[in-house]
Symmetry: C2
Subunit: 244 residues, 2 copies
């Protein structure tokens, strides 16, 4: 499986090419192609911004036309700031990344095409793209080239990322046994009874239920349940000491 190439058309600022390379490396992309760069190449500012992604810049291919640069690719999605009046499907970044992923998994050569800082993509370039990706923004829309590559790279990685939406460290992954929790509940309620905390007596049952719910909500481990019991012991001991 070859991840999509990132193709930048007529980039003007080395900083943005460097930032694009760095963004790519964060998300598992490595193939960078430039069409007619409007800057010296190789470029010092690009090197500086790429930091750990210098290998991507070293392997960057440069072409003078979009037709040459895009020649080897089977599926090309063009990223535009605003959906223009083109007769193509417009994808969200997520849907675009999923389409690229599905194609790449079938050994189809894929590419993400980005326009230059000032003018974006011209009509000739758009005519070689299968479809368009537009990044949703608020009314204020001012993403630079490096940021657009970052967001698409992020969606590319996400399209195969199996990280669960919410997880906890393995050290607290195991909630307390019900035996440990029952022990805690009884211990706490016994001491609260002794301290005449539950008042009036008619409300004891409701109050106990609420306290238990509050404790359960925190998803304690066995160790944490024992820590709380230790705190109760300590608090009660101090109270008796104070009374002496």
């Amino acid at each position: 499986m070859t991840p999509p190439a990132v193709i930048l058309s007529r980039p003007q600022m080395g900083e943005n090419v460097g930032a694009a390379a760095r963004a790519m490396k964060n998300f598992g992309l490595s193939e960078l192609v430039l069409i007619a760069p409007r800057m010296d190449w190789p470029n010092d500012r690009a090197q500086m911004l790429a930091s750990g992604a210098a290998d991507i810049l070293e392997n960057t291919r440069v072409y003078s036309s979009a037709a040459e640069a895009l020649a080897p690719f089977n599926l090309v999605l063009a990223t535009t700031a605003r959906g223009r009046d083109v007769l193509k499907e417009i994808h969200t970044p997520q849907a675009g990344a999923e389409r690229l992923r599905a194609a790449a998994n079938h050994n189809v050569r894929t590419a993400l095409l980005f326009g230059g800082e000032r003018a974006g993509l011209d009509n000739d370039e758009m005519s070689l793209a299968d479809a368009v990706i537009t990044i949703p923004t608020a009314e204020f829309s001012s993403l630079n080239l490096g940021q657009a590559v970052l967001l698409l790279g992020y969606e590319w990685l996400k399209s195969a990322d199996a990280t669960p939406a919410v997880r906890t460290r393995s050290t607290i992954a195991v909630p307390a046994t019900r035996a440990e929790l029952s022990g805690l509940f009884e211990h706490l309620e016994r001491e609260l009874d002794a301290a005449q905390f539950f008042f009036p007596a008619a409300k004891r049952e409701t109050m106990v239920r609420n306290v238990r719910a509050m404790i359960l909500r925190s998803g304690l481990s066995d160790q944490e349940a024992r820590t709380i019991r230790g705190m109760i012991v300590a608090l009660v001991r101090n109270k008796y000491r104070g009374q002496k």
Copy 2:
């Protein structure tokens, strides 16, 4: 509904604060808070990088401690590069954004907390956060502060974005009627028969079916179907002219 505040702890570089402000504005966030910035404030480099988001910098509040800065918030999610050994839930950016959105919709005051460039968040700051967000990356992981704010802002906007995954412009949203398509098919096949394109005759049915499927796949509008019929007329006319 108040969107989450973005809280930057001990930021060192004005560029990153400016980039964060610009990223925020792209995605509908406006409340920026700094804890003990390690730079002059107000900051020229921040102004320069913020470009259209100067209003966010003007309204930025600065506090000397995390406790003060976080005081008004009910739900605080801390973004860390790598999940550290903290006993908190770890969310993906998407799940974190959805949690913030759900809370904000109930008028709960929410915040996204980011650590400084060098040291990240310290233990005191982490202890005030409800949970953690970690951005998934490849093995190479080197996102700067502005990029982290950009990705979280993007997920915040996405969490309420109703843009369909794939759409087409309204000008081509209406596919051709079947009548128009049938007209096209019959016209094309009549001319291809005249040109003895279908050979051998036994394969005509299969070939016709494949050509029709190919045309249907492109989702033509009425106008486009008429354009193709015009092309057929033109091609046939030239052929007869050539024969004269």
